[in-house]
Symmetry: C2
Subunit: 204 residues, 2 copies
Amino acid sequence: MARTQGSHSDITGPRIRTEALRLFAQHGYAAVSMRQIASAVGVQAGALYNYTPDKQSLLFSLMEGHMTELLAAWHEQEAAYTAEASDPKAKVLARLEAFTRFHIRFHLERPDAVFIAYMELRNLSEDNFTAIESLRREYENALQAILKEGVRLGVLHVPDPKIATLAVIAMLNGVMTWYRSGGRLSLEEVEGIYWDMVKKSMQV
Amino acid sequence: MARTQGSHSDITGPRIRTEALRLFAQHGYAAVSMRQIASAVGVQAGALYNYTPDKQSLLFSLMEGHMTELLAAWHEQEAAYTAEASDPKAKVLARLEAFTRFHIRFHLERPDAVFIAYMELRNLSEDNFTAIESLRREYENALQAILKEGVRLGVLHVPDPKIATLAVIAMLNGVMTWYRSGGRLSLEEVEGIYWDMVKKSMQV
DNA sequence: CTTTTATATGAACATTCGTTCAGTTAGGCT
DNA sequence: AGCCTAACTGAACGAATGTTCATATAAAAG
Protein backbone atom coordinates (compact mmCIF):
# COMPACT_ATOMS: atom_id res chain seq x y z
CA MET A 1 0.00 0.00 0.00
CA ALA A 2 2.45 2.61 1.21
CA ARG A 3 5.45 3.14 -0.98
CA THR A 4 8.14 1.29 0.98
CA GLN A 5 10.61 0.85 -1.81
CA GLY A 6 10.13 1.71 -5.43
CA SER A 7 9.79 -1.20 -7.76
CA HIS A 8 12.34 -0.07 -10.31
CA SER A 9 14.32 2.98 -9.48
CA ASP A 10 12.71 4.89 -6.60
CA ILE A 11 14.26 8.12 -7.86
CA THR A 12 12.53 8.63 -11.18
CA GLY A 13 10.34 11.41 -9.83
CA PRO A 14 13.19 13.62 -8.63
CA ARG A 15 15.23 12.87 -11.72
CA ILE A 16 12.40 14.02 -13.95
CA ARG A 17 12.40 17.33 -12.13
CA THR A 18 16.17 17.63 -12.33
CA GLU A 19 16.36 16.91 -16.03
CA ALA A 20 13.32 19.02 -16.89
CA LEU A 21 14.81 21.93 -14.99
CA ARG A 22 18.09 21.62 -16.85
CA LEU A 23 16.50 21.26 -20.28
CA PHE A 24 13.94 24.04 -19.77
CA ALA A 25 16.72 26.39 -18.69
CA GLN A 26 18.92 25.42 -21.59
CA HIS A 27 16.47 25.47 -24.47
CA GLY A 28 13.29 26.99 -23.11
CA TYR A 29 10.03 25.38 -22.10
CA ALA A 30 8.41 25.48 -25.51
CA ALA A 31 11.48 24.08 -27.24
CA VAL A 32 11.79 21.02 -25.02
CA SER A 33 9.62 17.97 -25.72
CA MET A 34 8.39 15.43 -23.24
CA ARG A 35 10.36 12.85 -25.20
CA GLN A 36 13.59 14.79 -24.65
CA ILE A 37 12.96 14.90 -20.92
CA ALA A 38 12.11 11.19 -20.86
CA SER A 39 15.24 10.37 -22.81
CA ALA A 40 17.41 12.36 -20.41
CA VAL A 41 15.89 10.45 -17.52
CA GLY A 42 16.35 7.15 -19.33
CA VAL A 43 12.69 6.30 -19.68
CA GLN A 44 9.90 6.39 -22.26
CA ALA A 45 7.70 9.46 -22.64
CA GLY A 46 4.60 7.76 -21.32
CA ALA A 47 6.27 7.09 -17.97
CA LEU A 48 6.45 10.82 -17.22
CA TYR A 49 2.70 10.91 -16.81
CA ASN A 50 2.96 8.85 -13.65
CA TYR A 51 4.59 11.90 -12.07
CA THR A 52 2.94 14.88 -13.68
CA PRO A 53 -0.54 15.31 -15.15
CA ASP A 54 0.88 17.29 -18.06
CA LYS A 55 3.80 19.40 -19.25
CA GLN A 56 2.37 22.66 -17.98
CA SER A 57 2.00 21.31 -14.44
CA LEU A 58 5.61 20.19 -14.51
CA LEU A 59 6.76 23.71 -15.36
CA PHE A 60 4.55 25.27 -12.72
CA SER A 61 5.68 22.82 -10.07
CA LEU A 62 9.33 23.64 -10.76
CA MET A 63 8.72 27.38 -10.57
CA GLU A 64 6.54 27.16 -7.49
CA GLY A 65 9.08 24.94 -5.76
CA HIS A 66 11.85 27.42 -6.46
CA MET A 67 9.93 30.44 -5.23
CA THR A 68 8.83 28.64 -2.09
CA GLU A 69 12.39 27.60 -1.32
CA LEU A 70 13.56 31.16 -1.91
CA LEU A 71 11.05 32.65 0.51
CA ALA A 72 11.67 29.99 3.16
CA ALA A 73 15.43 30.45 2.93
CA TRP A 74 15.20 34.22 3.26
CA HIS A 75 12.79 34.16 6.18
CA GLU A 76 15.13 31.80 7.97
CA GLN A 77 18.09 34.01 7.19
CA GLU A 78 16.29 37.17 8.25
CA ALA A 79 15.17 35.65 11.54
CA ALA A 80 18.77 35.55 12.70
CA TYR A 81 19.10 39.30 12.17
CA THR A 82 15.85 40.36 13.78
CA ALA A 83 16.45 38.23 16.87
CA GLU A 84 19.53 39.99 18.15
CA ALA A 85 18.42 43.40 19.34
CA SER A 86 20.89 46.23 18.92
CA ASP A 87 21.00 49.71 17.45
CA PRO A 88 18.02 49.89 15.00
CA LYS A 89 19.98 51.99 12.56
CA ALA A 90 22.83 49.53 12.40
CA LYS A 91 20.40 46.65 12.25
CA VAL A 92 18.56 47.85 9.16
CA LEU A 93 21.84 48.25 7.33
CA ALA A 94 22.88 44.78 8.41
CA ARG A 95 19.60 43.42 7.11
CA LEU A 96 20.12 45.14 3.77
CA GLU A 97 23.60 43.69 3.53
CA ALA A 98 22.24 40.29 4.51
CA PHE A 99 19.63 40.49 1.79
CA THR A 100 22.17 41.48 -0.83
CA ARG A 101 24.56 38.69 0.02
CA PHE A 102 21.77 36.16 0.48
CA HIS A 103 20.22 36.97 -2.86
CA ILE A 104 23.49 36.59 -4.74
CA ARG A 105 24.47 33.39 -2.97
CA PHE A 106 21.06 31.73 -3.23
CA HIS A 107 20.63 32.55 -6.89
CA LEU A 108 24.13 31.54 -7.93
CA GLU A 109 23.52 28.15 -6.37
CA ARG A 110 20.46 27.55 -8.60
CA PRO A 111 21.10 29.21 -11.94
CA ASP A 112 18.69 26.96 -13.84
CA ALA A 113 15.77 27.44 -11.49
CA VAL A 114 16.29 31.20 -11.45
CA PHE A 115 16.48 31.35 -15.20
CA ILE A 116 13.22 29.49 -15.57
CA ALA A 117 11.45 31.40 -12.83
CA TYR A 118 11.58 34.70 -14.66
CA MET A 119 12.03 33.54 -18.23
CA GLU A 120 9.10 31.17 -18.55
CA LEU A 121 6.43 33.27 -16.90
CA ARG A 122 4.77 33.81 -20.25
CA ASN A 123 4.39 30.07 -20.77
CA LEU A 124 2.28 29.69 -17.65
CA SER A 125 -1.48 29.44 -17.79
CA GLU A 126 -3.31 32.43 -16.36
CA ASP A 127 -3.94 30.91 -12.94
CA ASN A 128 -0.42 29.56 -12.60
CA PHE A 129 1.02 32.92 -13.62
CA THR A 130 -0.98 34.69 -10.93
CA ALA A 131 0.27 32.27 -8.30
CA ILE A 132 3.93 32.73 -9.20
CA GLU A 133 3.57 36.48 -9.49
CA SER A 134 2.17 36.55 -6.00
CA LEU A 135 5.19 34.69 -4.60
CA ARG A 136 7.54 37.01 -6.46
CA ARG A 137 5.82 40.05 -5.03
CA GLU A 138 6.13 38.61 -1.58
CA TYR A 139 9.89 38.38 -2.03
CA GLU A 140 10.13 41.91 -3.39
CA ASN A 141 8.13 43.17 -0.43
CA ALA A 142 10.73 41.71 1.89
CA LEU A 143 13.37 43.99 0.41
CA GLN A 144 11.02 46.92 0.12
CA ALA A 145 10.22 46.68 3.84
CA ILE A 146 13.92 46.98 4.62
CA LEU A 147 14.28 50.04 2.42
CA LYS A 148 11.23 51.71 3.91
CA GLU A 149 12.48 51.15 7.44
CA GLY A 150 15.85 52.51 6.40
CA VAL A 151 14.15 55.66 5.14
CA ARG A 152 12.08 55.94 8.31
CA LEU A 153 15.21 55.74 10.44
CA GLY A 154 16.97 58.21 8.20
CA VAL A 155 19.84 55.89 7.28
CA LEU A 156 18.82 55.40 3.65
CA HIS A 157 18.00 57.83 0.86
CA VAL A 158 15.42 56.23 -1.43
CA PRO A 159 13.29 58.54 -3.59
CA ASP A 160 10.95 55.70 -4.58
CA PRO A 161 11.09 52.46 -2.56
CA LYS A 162 9.16 50.42 -5.11
CA ILE A 163 11.49 51.36 -7.97
CA ALA A 164 14.60 51.03 -5.83
CA THR A 165 13.52 47.53 -4.83
CA LEU A 166 13.12 46.45 -8.42
CA ALA A 167 16.33 48.18 -9.46
CA VAL A 168 18.37 46.44 -6.78
CA ILE A 169 16.94 43.03 -7.56
CA ALA A 170 17.50 43.55 -11.27
CA MET A 171 21.09 44.56 -10.61
CA LEU A 172 21.74 41.57 -8.39
CA ASN A 173 20.14 39.23 -10.89
CA GLY A 174 22.62 40.51 -13.42
CA VAL A 175 25.35 38.58 -11.64
CA MET A 176 23.93 35.40 -13.10
CA THR A 177 24.70 36.41 -16.64
CA TRP A 178 28.43 36.41 -16.14
CA TYR A 179 29.51 34.73 -12.87
CA ARG A 180 31.12 31.33 -13.20
CA SER A 181 32.44 29.58 -10.13
CA GLY A 182 36.17 29.11 -10.31
CA GLY A 183 36.50 32.33 -12.28
CA ARG A 184 38.51 35.44 -11.56
CA LEU A 185 36.51 36.43 -8.50
CA SER A 186 35.41 34.45 -5.47
CA LEU A 187 31.80 34.45 -4.36
CA GLU A 188 32.83 36.51 -1.33
CA GLU A 189 34.44 39.15 -3.53
CA VAL A 190 31.43 39.33 -5.82
CA GLU A 191 29.11 39.78 -2.85
CA GLY A 192 31.35 42.54 -1.60
CA ILE A 193 31.40 44.42 -4.88
CA TYR A 194 27.63 44.34 -5.24
CA TRP A 195 27.04 45.25 -1.61
CA ASP A 196 29.32 48.22 -2.09
CA MET A 197 27.22 49.42 -5.03
CA VAL A 198 23.88 48.75 -3.34
CA LYS A 199 24.91 50.51 -0.16
CA LYS A 200 26.25 53.56 -1.92
CA SER A 201 23.33 53.87 -4.32
CA MET A 202 21.09 54.51 -1.31
CA GLN A 203 23.40 56.56 0.80
CA VAL A 204 21.79 59.52 2.48
CA MET B 1 12.63 45.34 -63.18
CA ALA B 2 13.24 47.62 -60.25
CA ARG B 3 10.53 47.56 -57.61
CA THR B 4 8.70 50.79 -58.37
CA GLN B 5 5.47 49.98 -56.63
CA GLY B 6 4.49 46.75 -54.93
CA SER B 7 1.94 44.69 -56.76
CA HIS B 8 -0.38 44.03 -53.86
CA SER B 9 0.40 45.71 -50.63
CA ASP B 10 3.96 47.04 -50.74
CA ILE B 11 4.17 46.80 -46.96
CA THR B 12 4.04 43.09 -46.37
CA GLY B 13 7.76 42.85 -45.65
CA PRO B 14 7.80 45.41 -42.83
CA ARG B 15 4.53 44.10 -41.44
CA ILE B 16 5.97 40.62 -41.18
CA ARG B 17 8.79 42.01 -39.08
CA THR B 18 6.42 44.01 -36.92
CA GLU B 19 4.09 41.14 -36.21
CA ALA B 20 6.88 38.61 -35.73
CA LEU B 21 8.53 40.95 -33.24
CA ARG B 22 5.32 41.35 -31.30
CA LEU B 23 4.50 37.65 -31.26
CA PHE B 24 8.03 36.50 -30.44
CA ALA B 25 8.13 38.93 -27.52
CA GLN B 26 4.72 37.87 -26.29
CA HIS B 27 4.93 34.10 -26.51
CA GLY B 28 8.57 33.32 -27.27
CA TYR B 29 10.22 32.31 -30.52
CA ALA B 30 9.69 28.57 -30.12
CA ALA B 31 6.03 28.98 -29.19
CA VAL B 32 5.11 31.06 -32.24
CA SER B 33 4.39 29.31 -35.53
CA MET B 34 4.89 30.68 -39.00
CA ARG B 35 1.15 30.31 -39.51
CA GLN B 36 0.47 32.57 -36.52
CA ILE B 37 2.75 35.23 -37.93
CA ALA B 38 1.16 34.91 -41.35
CA SER B 39 -2.30 35.15 -39.87
CA ALA B 40 -1.38 38.31 -37.97
CA VAL B 41 -0.11 39.84 -41.21
CA GLY B 42 -3.22 38.72 -43.07
CA VAL B 43 -1.52 36.32 -45.42
CA GLN B 44 -0.90 32.60 -45.86
CA ALA B 45 2.16 30.93 -44.35
CA GLY B 46 3.81 30.24 -47.68
CA ALA B 47 3.96 33.96 -48.49
CA LEU B 48 6.38 34.59 -45.63
CA TYR B 49 9.07 32.74 -47.52
CA ASN B 50 9.22 35.53 -50.09
CA TYR B 51 10.71 37.67 -47.34
CA THR B 52 12.77 35.30 -45.20
CA PRO B 53 14.55 32.07 -46.07
CA ASP B 54 13.38 30.48 -42.83
CA LYS B 55 12.13 31.16 -39.31
CA GLN B 56 15.62 31.27 -37.78
CA SER B 57 16.77 33.97 -40.21
CA LEU B 58 13.73 36.03 -39.33
CA LEU B 59 14.64 35.92 -35.64
CA PHE B 60 18.27 36.73 -36.31
CA SER B 61 17.37 39.61 -38.60
CA LEU B 62 15.16 41.15 -35.93
CA MET B 63 17.83 40.84 -33.26
CA GLU B 64 20.62 42.08 -35.48
CA GLY B 65 18.51 45.03 -36.62
CA HIS B 66 17.81 45.98 -33.02
CA MET B 67 21.43 45.80 -31.91
CA THR B 68 22.62 47.77 -34.92
CA GLU B 69 20.06 50.47 -34.26
CA LEU B 70 21.10 50.58 -30.61
CA LEU B 71 24.77 51.06 -31.41
CA ALA B 72 24.11 53.64 -34.12
CA ALA B 73 21.83 55.64 -31.84
CA TRP B 74 24.33 55.66 -28.99
CA HIS B 75 27.29 56.63 -31.15
CA GLU B 76 25.26 59.53 -32.51
CA GLN B 77 24.24 60.55 -29.01
CA GLU B 78 27.77 60.29 -27.67
CA ALA B 79 29.22 62.35 -30.49
CA ALA B 80 27.37 65.37 -29.18
CA TYR B 81 29.11 65.04 -25.83
CA THR B 82 32.62 64.43 -27.05
CA ALA B 83 32.49 67.34 -29.49
CA GLU B 84 32.14 70.13 -27.00
CA ALA B 85 35.45 70.35 -25.14
CA SER B 86 35.27 71.37 -21.50
CA ASP B 87 36.50 70.14 -18.16
CA PRO B 88 37.34 66.42 -18.65
CA LYS B 89 36.11 65.51 -15.19
CA ALA B 90 32.74 67.12 -15.76
CA LYS B 91 32.57 65.66 -19.22
CA VAL B 92 32.98 62.06 -18.18
CA LEU B 93 30.17 62.44 -15.67
CA ALA B 94 28.01 64.05 -18.33
CA ARG B 95 28.74 61.11 -20.60
CA LEU B 96 27.76 58.65 -17.89
CA GLU B 97 24.54 60.51 -17.30
CA ALA B 98 23.91 60.61 -21.04
CA PHE B 99 24.43 56.87 -21.27
CA THR B 100 22.06 56.19 -18.39
CA ARG B 101 19.30 58.35 -19.76
CA PHE B 102 19.85 57.19 -23.32
CA HIS B 103 19.71 53.53 -22.34
CA ILE B 104 16.45 53.93 -20.46
CA ARG B 105 14.81 56.01 -23.15
CA PHE B 106 15.93 53.86 -26.07
CA HIS B 107 14.91 50.62 -24.43
CA LEU B 108 11.54 51.83 -23.21
CA GLU B 109 10.72 52.84 -26.76
CA ARG B 110 11.25 49.27 -28.02
CA PRO B 111 10.20 46.87 -25.28
CA ASP B 112 9.52 44.00 -27.66
CA ALA B 113 12.85 44.19 -29.46
CA VAL B 114 14.74 44.41 -26.17
CA PHE B 115 12.87 41.48 -24.74
CA ILE B 116 13.73 39.34 -27.72
CA ALA B 117 17.33 40.49 -27.93
CA TYR B 118 18.28 38.98 -24.60
CA MET B 119 15.57 36.37 -24.19
CA GLU B 120 15.94 34.47 -27.42
CA LEU B 121 19.71 34.19 -27.55
CA ARG B 122 19.46 30.48 -26.85
CA ASN B 123 17.29 29.96 -29.89
CA LEU B 124 19.96 31.28 -32.24
CA SER B 125 22.18 29.00 -34.24
CA GLU B 126 25.81 29.03 -33.16
CA ASP B 127 26.98 31.47 -35.81
CA ASN B 128 24.07 33.81 -35.30
CA PHE B 129 24.61 33.73 -31.56
CA THR B 130 28.25 34.71 -31.96
CA ALA B 131 27.30 37.65 -34.15
CA ILE B 132 24.73 39.02 -31.70
CA GLU B 133 27.03 38.48 -28.73
CA SER B 134 29.68 40.51 -30.47
CA LEU B 135 27.31 43.44 -30.96
CA ARG B 136 26.22 43.22 -27.36
CA ARG B 137 29.81 43.29 -26.15
CA GLU B 138 30.45 46.34 -28.30
CA TYR B 139 27.64 48.15 -26.50
CA GLU B 140 28.89 47.08 -23.09
CA ASN B 141 32.36 48.30 -23.98
CA ALA B 142 30.96 51.75 -24.66
CA LEU B 143 29.85 52.01 -21.03
CA GLN B 144 32.96 50.33 -19.72
CA ALA B 145 35.13 52.90 -21.49
CA ILE B 146 33.30 55.67 -19.70
CA LEU B 147 33.77 54.01 -16.32
CA LYS B 148 37.45 53.41 -16.93
CA GLU B 149 38.03 57.01 -17.91
CA GLY B 150 36.12 58.08 -14.84
CA VAL B 151 38.44 55.99 -12.71
CA ARG B 152 41.50 57.36 -14.52
CA LEU B 153 40.38 60.91 -13.84
CA GLY B 154 39.57 60.05 -10.25
CA VAL B 155 35.92 61.04 -10.42
CA LEU B 156 34.53 57.51 -10.15
CA HIS B 157 35.15 54.71 -7.68
CA VAL B 158 34.77 51.39 -9.50
CA PRO B 159 36.45 48.34 -7.98
CA ASP B 160 35.85 46.23 -11.10
CA PRO B 161 34.84 48.05 -14.30
CA LYS B 162 33.66 44.90 -16.08
CA ILE B 163 31.31 43.93 -13.27
CA ALA B 164 30.15 47.47 -12.71
CA THR B 165 29.29 47.74 -16.39
CA LEU B 166 27.16 44.62 -16.31
CA ALA B 167 25.59 45.60 -13.00
CA VAL B 168 24.55 49.02 -14.29
CA ILE B 169 23.10 47.65 -17.51
CA ALA B 170 21.24 44.94 -15.61
CA MET B 171 19.82 47.52 -13.25
CA LEU B 172 18.73 49.80 -16.09
CA ASN B 173 17.19 46.89 -17.96
CA GLY B 174 15.08 46.25 -14.90
CA VAL B 175 13.06 49.34 -15.72
CA MET B 176 11.42 47.41 -18.51
CA THR B 177 9.78 44.95 -16.16
CA TRP B 178 7.59 47.54 -14.52
CA TYR B 179 7.50 50.87 -16.42
CA ARG B 180 4.29 51.61 -18.29
CA SER B 181 3.93 54.94 -20.08
CA GLY B 182 1.12 56.97 -18.57
CA GLY B 183 1.84 55.49 -15.16
CA ARG B 184 2.69 57.15 -11.90
CA LEU B 185 6.06 58.46 -13.05
CA SER B 186 7.10 60.33 -16.16
CA LEU B 187 10.00 59.14 -18.27
CA GLU B 188 11.98 62.14 -17.07
CA GLU B 189 11.42 61.21 -13.43
CA VAL B 190 12.38 57.60 -14.02
CA GLU B 191 15.59 58.64 -15.74
CA GLY B 192 16.34 60.90 -12.81
CA ILE B 193 15.80 58.20 -10.20
CA TYR B 194 18.04 55.73 -11.99
CA TRP B 195 20.71 58.31 -12.72
CA ASP B 196 20.72 59.15 -9.03
CA MET B 197 21.38 55.52 -8.13
CA VAL B 198 23.98 54.97 -10.84
CA LYS B 199 25.87 58.10 -9.94
CA LYS B 200 25.93 57.37 -6.25
CA SER B 201 26.83 53.71 -6.65
CA MET B 202 30.14 54.83 -8.19
CA GLN B 203 30.86 57.82 -6.07
CA VAL B 204 34.45 58.16 -4.98
C1' DC C 1 -2.92 43.89 -76.03
C1' DT C 2 0.71 40.77 -74.78
C1' DT C 3 4.42 39.46 -72.01
C1' DT C 4 6.80 39.57 -67.89
C1' DT C 5 7.46 39.46 -63.10
C1' DA C 6 6.62 40.00 -58.31
C1' DT C 7 3.34 38.27 -55.02
C1' DA C 8 0.27 35.26 -52.89
C1' DT C 9 -2.41 30.96 -52.51
C1' DG C 10 -3.51 26.47 -50.77
C1' DA C 11 -2.52 21.91 -50.82
C1' DA C 12 0.87 18.72 -49.70
C1' DC C 13 5.29 16.76 -47.45
C1' DA C 14 7.57 14.51 -43.68
C1' DT C 15 8.22 15.30 -38.74
C1' DT C 16 7.24 16.14 -34.38
C1' DC C 17 4.22 17.33 -30.72
C1' DG C 18 1.48 16.18 -26.07
C1' DT C 19 -1.12 12.71 -24.43
C1' DT C 20 -3.52 8.12 -23.84
C1' DC C 21 -3.73 3.34 -22.85
C1' DA C 22 -3.71 -1.72 -23.16
C1' DG C 23 -0.28 -4.71 -22.01
C1' DT C 24 4.21 -6.17 -19.78
C1' DT C 25 7.28 -6.38 -15.89
C1' DA C 26 8.78 -7.09 -11.37
C1' DG C 27 8.93 -6.49 -6.67
C1' DG C 28 6.03 -6.59 -1.97
C1' DC C 29 2.39 -8.70 0.66
C1' DT C 30 -0.48 -12.42 2.43
C1' DA D 1 2.69 -19.93 -4.28
C1' DG D 2 -0.43 -16.55 -5.79
C1' DC D 3 -2.15 -11.94 -5.83
C1' DC D 4 -1.60 -7.13 -5.98
C1' DT D 5 -0.04 -2.91 -7.48
C1' DA D 6 3.05 0.57 -8.85
C1' DA D 7 6.18 1.40 -12.78
C1' DC D 8 7.16 1.28 -17.35
C1' DT D 9 6.82 0.13 -22.33
C1' DG D 10 5.60 0.78 -26.99
C1' DA D 11 2.37 1.76 -30.12
C1' DA D 12 -1.06 4.75 -31.46
C1' DC D 13 -4.04 9.21 -31.76
C1' DG D 14 -5.04 13.64 -33.91
C1' DA D 15 -3.15 17.95 -34.25
C1' DA D 16 0.42 21.12 -35.35
C1' DT D 17 5.07 22.07 -37.00
C1' DG D 18 8.49 24.32 -40.83
C1' DT D 19 8.99 24.27 -45.47
C1' DT D 20 8.12 23.45 -50.59
C1' DC D 21 5.90 24.17 -54.89
C1' DA D 22 2.69 24.13 -58.76
C1' DT D 23 -0.74 27.31 -59.65
C1' DA D 24 -3.36 31.71 -59.74
C1' DT D 25 -3.47 36.72 -59.80
C1' DA D 26 -2.77 41.22 -61.05
C1' DA D 27 -0.01 45.07 -61.85
C1' DA D 28 4.12 46.82 -64.71
C1' DA D 29 6.68 46.82 -68.97
C1' DG D 30 7.00 46.40 -73.87
